[in-house]
């Protein structure tokens, strides 16, 4: 899922300083699952904005709503139901949602309530870790299903650097050296030889270094 976390309240209060009416808009997609921008978090944020504005001696009217997702046109269209109820939208979606509202609703000012951080998973309740960098050229079939692009601090493609000690990364003892884990996992499948295959110099254009990426599926367009 896309993992995100709420921006500092000082930043959010600054955004809505001049607003009289705000729509705090939750997303029931990824950010609900990572407890950053679902309906519950939007209710909390609404309350905090009201309190923050009250402290600043200002009043603000807040409507709290949610969309199934904020990354598809048909759901964005549902914002129409709140027409006239806001000066600006504070979106608790990821950055995709904020962009999508901006793209599709020229007359609507939209502010981000979250910092969108990474593609990750949650192995322990309340804890998320980055697992994928969305680089557009997956090598997981060569690395035992563990990603060196996202999970190696240096995104190395040919084994660990010299800083790996006891299976831990030199940047932090809490972080596993993913190349050690790749080695151990390949070994458990009798595929250690894969470690000796030299990965070629990588073309990072698929990772966004060549500009914004786009996928068109002709079979899905009518």
């Amino acid at each position: 899922m896309i993992v995100a976390e709420r921006k500092p309240m000082s930043e959010i209060i600054e955004m809505v300083q001049d607003c009289k009416k705000v729509l705090v808009l939750a997303c029931r997609g990824c950010v609900t699952v990572c407890s950053a921008g679902g309906e519950r978090e939007a209710e909390i944020l609404s309350s905090l904005i009201r309190l923050g504005m009250k402290k600043a001696g200002k009043s603000i009217e807040i409507t709290t709503g949610s969309l199934v997702r904020q990354c598809d046109r048909e759901y964005i269209d549902e914002i129409d139901q709140w027409d006239g109820e806001y000066d600006a939208v504070v979106s608790t979606a990821c950055g995709v949602g904020v962009n999508f509202i901006s793209n599709l609703r020229k007359e609507t000012m939209v502010y981000p309530a979250l910092n969108t951080t990474f593609f990750g998973g949650s192995a322990e309740q309340g804890e998320w870790t980055e697992q994928c960098a969305g680089c557009g050229d997956c090598v997981l079939h060569l690395t035992g299903g563990l990603c060196p692009v996202a999970r190696c601090a240096k995104s190395l493609m040919n084994g660990p650097c010299g800083g790996s000690v006891d299976g831990r990364c030199e940047i932090h003892k809490d972080v596993e050296c993913i190349w050690q884990s790749i080695h151990d996992r390949l070994a458990s499948f009798n595929r250690s030889a894969q470690m000796e295959v030299i990965a070629p110099i990588r073309d990072w254009s698929s990772a966004g270094h060549g500009g914004p990426r786009k996928i068109v599926r002709d079979d899905l367009t009518v």
């Binding site: 309350s47 923050g52 009250k54």
Partner: protein, 137 residues
Amino acid sequence: MSFDPAITLFSCHYTSQQSCAEEGKELEKLGFPSSINLVRVPCTGKLQVTTLLKAFEDGADGVYVVGCPTDGCHNVKGSMRAAKRVAAVRDALEELGVEGGRVQMYHLPRGLHPEFVAKGKEMDRRIRGMGPSPFQN
């Protein structure tokens, strides 16, 4: 500056049994501060962050929660969940530039005991010391 605070207490049925004793008069007789508005809930684990924030929005100068001891909650982890939510509200208050001490969690034994009144007095003293809520503007 002297003022009469408004304090909201959320307490579970088990730790607030004194509020029922002597037809509800025992707490008053024991000197429980009149500034405290007691809201009984089946379990403090039921409290959401929004419930606590709403109390501040409704004019509370301070909010506190009394739940079972962490190793003796009737609902196993209810009071632990409440403590986490109180901590989240404390962090949020501090983010807004407000004293985190305006919200507090206490874990107290169940049944009739003096600590329930003592913590009420402690909270009353603390909030009087802090003055009115900055959200009262």
